[in-house]
Symmetry: D2
Subunit: 458 residues, 4 copies
Amino acid sequence: MPHDIINTRVSPMGALEVLSRAEVARLLDLGHDEGLYRTFRDCALAVLNCGNESDDGKELLRRYPSFDILPVSRERGIELAITGAPASAFVDGEMIAGIREHLFSVLRDVVYVGDEIRSNGKFDPSTSAGLTDIVFRILRNAGVLRAADGVRLAVCWGGHAISREEYEHTKRVGYQLGLRGLDICTGCGSGAMKGPMKGAAVGHAKQRIEGRYLGFSEPGIIAAESPNPIVNALVIFPDIEKRLEAFVRVGHGIVIFPGGAGTAEEILYLLGILLHPQNARLPFPVILSGPKSAEDYFRRIDAFIGQTLGARARSRYSIIIDDPERVAREMISGLERVREFRESRRDAFHFNWLLSIDHEFQRPFIPTHENMAALDLRAGQPEHILAANLRRAFSGIVAGNVKADGILEIERRGPFEIRGDAAIMRPMDALLASFVEQKRMKLPCREYTPCYRITGGA
Amino acid sequence: MPHDIINTRVSPMGALEVLSRAEVARLLDLGHDEGLYRTFRDCALAVLNCGNESDDGKELLRRYPSFDILPVSRERGIELAITGAPASAFVDGEMIAGIREHLFSVLRDVVYVGDEIRSNGKFDPSTSAGLTDIVFRILRNAGVLRAADGVRLAVCWGGHAISREEYEHTKRVGYQLGLRGLDICTGCGSGAMKGPMKGAAVGHAKQRIEGRYLGFSEPGIIAAESPNPIVNALVIFPDIEKRLEAFVRVGHGIVIFPGGAGTAEEILYLLGILLHPQNARLPFPVILSGPKSAEDYFRRIDAFIGQTLGARARSRYSIIIDDPERVAREMISGLERVREFRESRRDAFHFNWLLSIDHEFQRPFIPTHENMAALDLRAGQPEHILAANLRRAFSGIVAGNVKADGILEIERRGPFEIRGDAAIMRPMDALLASFVEQKRMKLPCREYTPCYRITGGA
Amino acid sequence: MPHDIINTRVSPMGALEVLSRAEVARLLDLGHDEGLYRTFRDCALAVLNCGNESDDGKELLRRYPSFDILPVSRERGIELAITGAPASAFVDGEMIAGIREHLFSVLRDVVYVGDEIRSNGKFDPSTSAGLTDIVFRILRNAGVLRAADGVRLAVCWGGHAISREEYEHTKRVGYQLGLRGLDICTGCGSGAMKGPMKGAAVGHAKQRIEGRYLGFSEPGIIAAESPNPIVNALVIFPDIEKRLEAFVRVGHGIVIFPGGAGTAEEILYLLGILLHPQNARLPFPVILSGPKSAEDYFRRIDAFIGQTLGARARSRYSIIIDDPERVAREMISGLERVREFRESRRDAFHFNWLLSIDHEFQRPFIPTHENMAALDLRAGQPEHILAANLRRAFSGIVAGNVKADGILEIERRGPFEIRGDAAIMRPMDALLASFVEQKRMKLPCREYTPCYRITGGA
Amino acid sequence: MPHDIINTRVSPMGALEVLSRAEVARLLDLGHDEGLYRTFRDCALAVLNCGNESDDGKELLRRYPSFDILPVSRERGIELAITGAPASAFVDGEMIAGIREHLFSVLRDVVYVGDEIRSNGKFDPSTSAGLTDIVFRILRNAGVLRAADGVRLAVCWGGHAISREEYEHTKRVGYQLGLRGLDICTGCGSGAMKGPMKGAAVGHAKQRIEGRYLGFSEPGIIAAESPNPIVNALVIFPDIEKRLEAFVRVGHGIVIFPGGAGTAEEILYLLGILLHPQNARLPFPVILSGPKSAEDYFRRIDAFIGQTLGARARSRYSIIIDDPERVAREMISGLERVREFRESRRDAFHFNWLLSIDHEFQRPFIPTHENMAALDLRAGQPEHILAANLRRAFSGIVAGNVKADGILEIERRGPFEIRGDAAIMRPMDALLASFVEQKRMKLPCREYTPCYRITGGA
């Protein structure tokens, strides 16, 4: 079926309105950097395609084969010339304002910020502090860090392909958070990423609050999880690790809804950081929440964590089933502790400088077959290092499930091999099996073929 | 089952923040005017009860028997002391901001404005111009008339007890209107009054527009149709006629969704005005719209209008089934004609002064058994006069169905008698019968006992 | 010499943008009410003539004989059609925005508010509370009463025909008040009315404060004391008594600069109120201030007060010579006491309800020869009543000096006779003689012929 | 006489509120870079000393010997710890807001921006485009470039030690510019730099315009020309050439008031640029204006330009004596041509990219005795190159007159030698002699000893 398309030109907004000639020249030059151009184009198409469910970027490109987007010189700066764009991004021929905003967020983060970071000698990506500095600069440049906003940003994680019942639950939780004045930050996309924002938007409207809806994405995932135009601050990070670091540096607390392997990855990432000895006394509210039907899902994750990372890991989160109001009330009291802690330590509200993030969690992990096979999943490691490695294993599985590159790899070379001690691999195998059984590994409508093979679980 | 209640005090917002001593004294005196106090209290309870479905005010008072609300003297002005209020209006003990705003809208319109109008010698309710002036003053005092807002207010009418499918349709239409920058004005309550606002709110958010959601109510209906807190400009008119006049004076176009007798009443009111000879060339877009399942409903109304009021009446509206985008596009082009007309006639955008409303439509109609029986429903009258009388007949039926006073009357004296020529009464009987059959006469879950008996239809 | 004139039309701003048809009709009818029309026209001309020194309104009308101004019907409301206006009110043919704002303040206060007050049955000018209510309503309608503004409005009084040195002193005091965040309220005109505003404007700019410059005038004085366009809230009161009451109800403290008989009148008015037994414990900072050269002026007033009203009267003010910073610091600490007092008594910040103003001070005093002769200026009266009568005597002298009507009366019937006990009349005679000697009775460039004759001073 | 001093700490505003840890560390390290620290401290003291006339920085440091200022670590960022600051910068112990703003502008431009420019590999100061890019970045970082502001920024140049009559003239011109909605940009300091801003502030207030008052300074001149706190956008450029480029890139037109050698330098700089062949058709209104008493001053400059640079140079400016309104009207019509030109060439309004500035004008000129002696002042050069060299000669004379370094040089090594063709040197000698005679070479109260000796004029 041919899809309706539109050709147009759009003018920049915000930070990109006032550019120097040199900056304009560099942006116009974008077409000559093949890799950068492709990243920019793919992210732009994902943004324009919002609202249309899609599981991978390949499919998206097949659907809009003529799609193209490039900066062109215009009066006093640049414009984006767009061809073959999904008609759904337009109303009576005019691009929806929120989508236009997102397009320029993509340009800002993928092209402009990238260029600034590369050319500025002060950024040292080889150190932990240097990487954190990059995350900080991307966030500040996007206008996300606001000194006066206080402690009220709730990050929501969870799957994008969840059941209707689970989706309604995320909306109800979002509504209760919004009624209490909390802003929402998610990873964009549908499901548990969209529900809390929609719910919070209603809560904010009733409280006459101008809410903030932050969406953090990265080039590899944005096609599968395109940002809803309600997101009024979209930031695209260069890789998944910086995106994850951004969540925990600007979020004051986290609610985790049901999902699949990606959600498990996020939980492991979070625990890995919170289990770092230097973070032992740092308050950070984490609440796992779902409707009655998701109780089993969380019990299994809880069991897996208990078996692999132990009791201290379990003490860093609470599980609240089918009670959105209680989720919101516990989050509020958790945030109060965060506020007190930051004040006593004289730390900023807008960026969690005191949180120690091991370099292990910051370095990009490329889920090749080799890297997956080389993961150290033996028992006896320090908890936070084991968590880091477990999270990488799940990261690879997510890539094999939904990311364009990962899917291609699996198609070419077969499933990843994951090896480790039985004490680790057995619970992992059981958890993944439960995900498959609960149809949590991909869009519910398709048959799932595992992209991994576990060794050592026997 | 006992309902959760809360006692509290709330401070005024907006216009009531700066009051003179004399004004404070008059507000504090409210408790001594039994009728005024009851109206105020009932409206306040309706506002506090929003979100909880209820069909009549009597039931509401039974549910919150200890409810009381009165202005009390406080530092620099007044406060409202509230006891026995529905807990659902509060979040963690604090009243939801939107509901608090509505409470003070009630105080402003029911008590303060009433007092101003009574004591100001310039208002002459015995003339058409005087009544229009009162409507204007109420609207201006509520901050609704804004010279710079342009032509973009779409009024949405329809039933509050509609099917899920119809409700979803109203949301989709509201979304398309909101995407195109239109503000929404409804009569408050659930169903077709709430759907367009919720849809428009999403459209506005995507377009980064700060939308206006106007709710027009009146004491007799507010308990059954309590305002959703999304409404950010609530106005309570003294009676149904001023409320209807407000809709057509500030609305630039009207979308009518499926409903029951109330919706028919509104259509007849509108046609009665538009058929007035002096309004013959005045553009006023009217669109009847519903999902596929509502097609029959609108066809029957269309037939009834053709049979009783004729072809000219039918030419004043269009019917669009199952196509929200087309509704929005036709509304936009209709509003463009309204804008051109107002500019060419040098009329205000914010108030439709050029619209002639016959005094017949402005005088309150009290649906007693006597008044209902005395309605002139003979053929051969001027179209707009016949429309006025037909609308009164439906107004009485609505009162008998859902208004506290009307229900009481029917309980005491049996159904209303409605008489007229067969050429009028037969189509009317048929239309009402179709409403009953389609379960459009009351909340769908209850058995309907007609509150009327038609004579002359044979 | 012929004066440059301009004909134009201007559109309304603010409150008069949204008018009802009835209101428009009443404004258009203005031309038929000779007295009201003349008041409106004279005030409008005074506003348009700002910046050009003039001592009386008669002269002004002679200079612009073709001047005319009337509301005319226009698209969606009214316009003001103006002919023969002073060209100095325009820049390249366009009226200066501040002057345009003032014109509509005149229309609002002289025509619209007047009409509202006359037609609204709730205003009872026969009682003290009724008159205060009218003052309150005029101020609120002008947007002057703002609940959130705190305690920071300094009223500045003093002469409009003062020496350069005195004028520079008023600027320096205004500058110090502005640096400390105080807003300024004066009676419009030049000299001590303009200096503090100009000084405060610089202070506000340096502190990045958006200052408020309130100008309170009345039809009889506005020609002689036309408002500087810096005034960003101009209010025209119906008579001098309501204007004076407005000063003491909204001002939190008062600085009095050198002047002539008018300044003495204001001091007596103020003392009369503050000496009222019910105001004995009410804090109200009053500071008399001038440069070194004005020391003698204040010493003589101080002596006169001591001789006529006694020590308690003298305790209600302090005199600070040649020290603007000290004036500002004492005002700030005085305002702090006002703030504490209002909070402890739960009185509004924006209107001094607790201040008792005797009806004597509120009733307009018409300085006819008869009324002047009938003034009770005997010793032995309660202090505040004597102060009231003394202030009337000075009020008459001011009228005879500068007001169009008063000057005409004196021309026709010779000087006023003022009679009283020697203990009162002797100091009064001495004080007035010192004013004449110091050239404080009229514009310094003209010879002064007394408009009064004192009897009983012997 | 000991001067009152104050010790305090102040918090950052604006851009410096949200800093990364690395940025805070670099700012805290400021004390270890002796040169940078001294520049920062000297600029900060100049800013704090505003309002107190002073001709050189040396004197200033002598007056406040204990003055010190350094960033210190504080909750969530930095603070400035200040000791020995002039008490005149404070009101009741609190720093004046405008001065505090300026302090952080100094920190931003001297320390932060300097660091950014040094560490960012993209800035190439060896090319003309690279230097322009640096000027652009400094301006954008200071929030000066606003795409929506239109064509309305008038730059005002002239001396800071001018007569009362000349000063009043600059105020009157500023007033007329302000009445017409123009914003003002000057080089800070008193005299012709302050007058236009004060005048414009009154004009803006009357027109209800929120005016912008841009002050462009540089470390070498800020002590002698400290910014008035009315300046609401202070930018400190690294050197005089970038400052001059900023004036002509963001200013839409220029008014030049009387001054001395510095003013002549500015006129020559401007002509040098406008005479560049590529700028031949570029509209750029330049008006030389003064009171009657300054007519001779401008006639002599005009003659000098005619004799050295020729008729084409003279055609690029007009001279308007004693007519502030005409200055404003001609500026307005000149700006209209600028607007049309930019639109037709699709150039930005906020930055004059199309203006060609020869690299000669951008490279810093250090007025050593050697450099002054080596200046090529022969006839027969292209006009714009000759203008560049003449401007350097005057630049050196200004340095020798008022800049700390220059004065020291002259004290050590005697006056500069300036050599050239008689056709150039004779008019130059005559012009400088007229400046000395008119007491325009230094503060009028002191005796002037020339800092130069002209050779070749014979």
